[in-house]
């Protein structure tokens, strides 16, 4: 079996295919996560200002999370056809929840005394958000982004089902050819990508966390 996997990896034609798919995979995952950050972080912040809405909104997004991924992808086809777009849309929806929740809790957990001090010193709510709440919540928000990224790199494999490209294609053709070597040849890079993303984002978390906030 190891030999079969090596055979795939050593085949120059397959190498090119895998590299191309890995690039697609990364681009798809990254796009989904970036879009999710752009939506979920502001929404999370906004929900901390509209607490009555926080639970209903988050429950709704939580519900999305429970839809089986294949079903969600399939659901996207009538809306967006096949290709990269439906895959991106589905991955984006999956990526939202961890980021939304971490943003909300990260900001919520900022000590009231700190906010009171800030307000009492004459900070505007904008200054309070950008100079106090966001920097303090940053680490928690980043950990939500990390969770999302790792999840999305895994789920991006399924994009192949709707013609969205990525390493899922190699795995799918492995299934079609009943070739465990081929399946693993697609699966191993996905795992490596997820681990790499986890590591890099973990490093980033440490870098942006001042000495003071490190546990």
């Amino acid at each position: 079996m190891i030999r079969q996997v090596l055979a795939v990896f050593l085949d120059p034609r397959m190498q090119r295919t895998l590299l191309l798919q890995a690039a697609e995979h990364i681009s798809l995952s990254l796009s989904a996560v970036v879009l999710a950050v752009l939506v979920a972080v502001p929404l999370g912040v906004w929900l901390t200002r509209r607490e009555q809405l926080a639970e209903p909104v988050m429950a709704t997004f939580g519900l999305l999370q429970t839809i089986p991924s294949v079903a969600l992808l399939a659901f996207m086809i009538p809306l967006l056809g096949i290709g990269r777009e439906p895959a991106l849309a589905a991955l984006f929806l999956y990526a939202l929840m961890p980021i939304l929740r971490s943003t909300y809790t990260g900001i919520k957990q900022v000590d009231d005394a700190i906010l009171e001090a800030g307000r009492g010193m004459g900070m505007t709510s904008r200054q309070l958000l950008f100079l106090v709440e966001m920097p303090i919540a940053l680490r928690v928000i980043l950990s939500g982004i990390r969770v999302s990224t790792v999840l999305i790199i895994g789920w991006a494999t399924l994009a192949a089902f709707v013609g969205g490209g990525g390493l899922g294609n190699t795995i799918m053709s492995g299934f079609a050819m009943v070739s465990p070597g081929q399946i693993l040849a697609g699966g191993i890079p996905v795992t490596l990508l997820a681990l790499l993303a986890d590591y890099l984002l973990g490093r980033l978390e440490r870098v942006v966390t001042p000495r003071s906030l490190r546990a």
């Binding site: 000590d111 005394a113 700190i114 009171e116 001090a117 800030g118 307000r119 009492g120 010193m121 004459g122 900070m123 505007t124 200054q127 106090v132 920097p135 303090i136 001042p210 000495r211 003071s212 906030l213």
Partner: protein
């Protein structure tokens, strides 16, 4: 410079947290707001920087209605220190202290200089502490930083809400001393909320005693100790404190009821009375309790018959019930007196100060202080 005019605050339709409050705070004054929990101290204080807005009435700073001033601008001119300290955990000591100056647009050099001036004021070495983060400081050090952070932009007023109550007793004591020293030196105007009467007595130039949203008494510590307006204030201050502070005690507090005789008393009888009552002197009074003189055993020659009136001496040194105890004791000490009769302005004898009473009073003070530690 801060003036409350008929200020009330009602939270969502309940009983008022602050009711029709009038208060004028002078520049350079240290005013303590004190009273039981829920009496409206914090509410009163937070109305000054508009963290809470009054339901009715006006608050003026330097003659200007604060509702006419932008809340953010107002707050930047008012220092604010809270019990939970509230330092920004992700900022260094220097960044915390320089925050309001930064909001006000001071340049970095000026901010740096200001931090260097402020840290030593509370006994922190800039070289050592400037770049530390709050969690790398003790609670007492954190609140020191909290205090200078509030002073950074030279505010007109500093508001402090129980700033020392979460600290250990030793830090609390030393911070109180430093705060008072700073306030005197820099002529700061401070509004200070506390529930600790000792703290209020120690720090306040004036103390506003509050109850149920109103000021019950506004007075200097001395005045408060000497003349609590009512039972509530007296109880809040604590009877022990009223009686054991040597600066506040008066003669009336420690004088004893003297043993008296009338001038027609026989000498033998007088000796018997002294023995029976275990005293070494008798005060001679007329039927209206007017002091006529004093008799001590030395003066009585038992071989002779006669009355008290024959041997008594007139009393040249007396004191009055409202005289400061300290003063009366000094008198006794300087004149080598064992006894000092206490006489009203009308000449009526009301008590007697003895050296024993003096020792008792002093020991009370010493014991009370010993207990407090």
């Amino acid at each position: 410079m801060i003036r409350f005019e008929n200020v009330s605050k009602v939270y969502n339709g309940n009983t008022p947290a602050v009711e029709n409050l009038n208060l004028e705070i002078e520049r350079g004054e240290f005013v303590c707001l004190i009273g039981p929990s829920g009496c409206g101290k914090t509410t009163t204080m937070k109305m000054i920087n508009r963290l809470i807005e009054p339901t009715s009435g006006t608050i003026k700073i330097n003659g200007k209605d604060i509702m006419q001033i932008d809340a953010v601008d107002l707050r930047r001119g008012i220092g604010y220190v809270i019990q939970q300290i509230g330092l920004f955990p992700h900022m260094t000591v220097a960044e915390n202290v320089a925050l309001v100056p930064k909001l006000l647009g001071w340049n970095p050099e000026r901010r740096r200089k200001r931090v260097g001036e402020l840290l030593p004021l509370v006994g922190l070495d800039p070289a050592e502490f400037r770049d530390r983060y709050p969690r790398e400081l003790s609670g007492g050090q954190q609140q020191r930083v909290g205090i200078i952070r509030a002073m950074a932009a030279k505010p007109d007023v500093i508001l402090m809400d129980e700033p020392f109550s979460a600290l250990d007793p030793i830090s609390r004591e030393s911070l109180q001393d430093e705060m008072k020293r700073l306030q005197r030196k820099l002529k700061l105007t401070i509004v200070f909320v506390t529930h600790d009467i000792d703290e209020a007595l120690k720090l306040g130039d004036r103390i506003a005693m509050m109850r149920a949203g109103q000021i019950v008494q506004l007075a200097s510590p001395e005045e408060l100790l000497r003349n609590p307006t009512n039972e509530f204030v007296a109880q809040f201050i604590g009877r022990d404190r009223l009686l054991t502070d040597p600066d506040v005690l008066t003669v009336a507090d420690v004088m004893i009821k003297p043993v008296t005789v009338d001038p027609g008393h026989g000498l033998a009888e007088a000796i018997v009375t002294m023995k029976k009552r275990r005293v070494n002197s008798l005060l001679v009074t007329d039927e209206n309790d007017k002091l006529l003189g004093i008799v001590i055993p030395k003066q009585i020659d038992l071989t002779r018959r006669g009355t008290v009136a024959d041997v008594m001496r007139t009393v040249t040194v007396t004191t009055a019930p409202d005289v400061h105890l300290r003063e009366a004791f000094q008198r006794m000490f300087l004149d080598h007196l064992d006894l000092l009769p206490v006489v009203t302005a009308e000449g009526t004898l009301v008590g007697l100060l003895t050296s024993t009473a003096m020792v008792d009073a002093l020991s009370d003070v010493i014991w009370a202080e010993g207990d407090a530690q």
